[in-house]
Symmetry: C2
Subunit: 208 residues, 2 copies
């Protein structure tokens, strides 16, 4: 559960197994060796939409949510990544490259997650059928993967440079699981090669 089973957890991580937004927090915590306690939340059972989750964890009703040992709370997966990586191990030193990293992270939440992850959730967790889904989800997801593929066919990581950044971590889980959403990763060889590099650099053994 934590990188150091003997260390006192510095935060509780409320999340749902199978959620890429939650998994990315585990990736950064594991990569940085931060001790945390995972608390499974039954999102589809409505746990995030009622107390005590709403009152004590996140009034915004979303996971992941982090509660630090001193009681302070932080939400939004990508804000959590940026905060946990205090020393900037996955943040470029160059200000413009840092801005590009942030641009990919905002794009992830606006254009990638709402298409690829939402389509996956409807098929995998809500057991909807392909023909019940808004066709815009497929088109938007294909466009997102095509954009990543174009960039990743000419460079190793989303932000040009020798090392992965928080953008690669943020985009790894839901891209890896895109097949669950009906997307064929074989159509995006640049993305596939990047996923393999990410799995080697910071990947977890499972989405749990």
């Amino acid at each position: 559960m934590t990188a150091d089973q003997n260390a006192a957890p510095m935060f509780k991580l409320y999340g749902m197994t199978g959620s890429g937004n939650c998994e990315k927090v585990r990736i950064i915590a594991d990569a940085l060796g931060l001790a945390y306690e995972w608390i499974e939340v039954d999102v589809f059972g409505g746990e995030t939409r009622r107390p005590p989750f709403l009152s004590d964890v996140n009034p915004g009703g979303q996971v992941p949510a982090v509660v630090f040992a001193d009681g302070r709370r932080l939400t939004q997966s990508n804000a959590i990544l940026l905060h946990l990586d205090t020393e900037g191990r996955f943040v470029p030193d160059d200000p413009f490259r840092r801005a590009e990293m942030l641009s990919w992270m905002f794009w992830e939440q606006y254009s990638h997650e709402p298409t690829i992850a939402v389509r996956r959730a409807r098929l995998k967790f809500l057991s909807m059928k392909e023909d019940e889904l808004d066709p815009k989800l497929k088109a938007g997801g294909e466009a997102a993967l095509a954009r990543m593929n174009e960039v990743l066919s000419r460079q190793d990581w989303l932000v040009e440079g020798a090392a992965p950044t928080l953008a690669d971590i943020a985009l790894h889980p839901y891209t890896r699981d895109a097949e669950d959403g009906g997307f064929a990763l074989a159509d995006y060889p640049g993305v596939q090669a990047w996923l393999a590099r990410g799995a080697s650099a910071f990947g977890r053994a499972s989405s749990g």
Copy 2:
């Protein structure tokens, strides 16, 4: 158009008049006195979905997009805000408050813009009727405004402290224009008071 009409523009800002995502970039640029050239883009005419915009400005097909004098390009409104405010005039010094600011900015793009601004765009720019709209847009927008109101009824700015941050700038335009999307701001007095404070601190005279 720029704070200093005589200064050489440090960037071109491609945007659409009436878009809050674009206006927030103008707000920060004006507040910091940065010289820029505004280039109007006909989004609803399809200009963002074909060359030369796709090839030369933003392959992601979205505004705002910034092209700096040296040719470097940056997209995603909130990444642009963070990059332009080099000296952190609207960024808290305290790391946890900075994380809270980022949390609001990611929340804005995930939960506020896709409900309030999308509903506004469909009514105002696409001339759709209320009964043609997905009811989730109204419910999601009301939830977003309620969450802001709860926080803004007990503090002046989204991140606790004496001064506005980039989160207040990011959330100002689309919240101010929420009435265009069928939301009644009078139901959210904390939000209304915060809008007045924002208009006084960094507001522009119009959404243009």
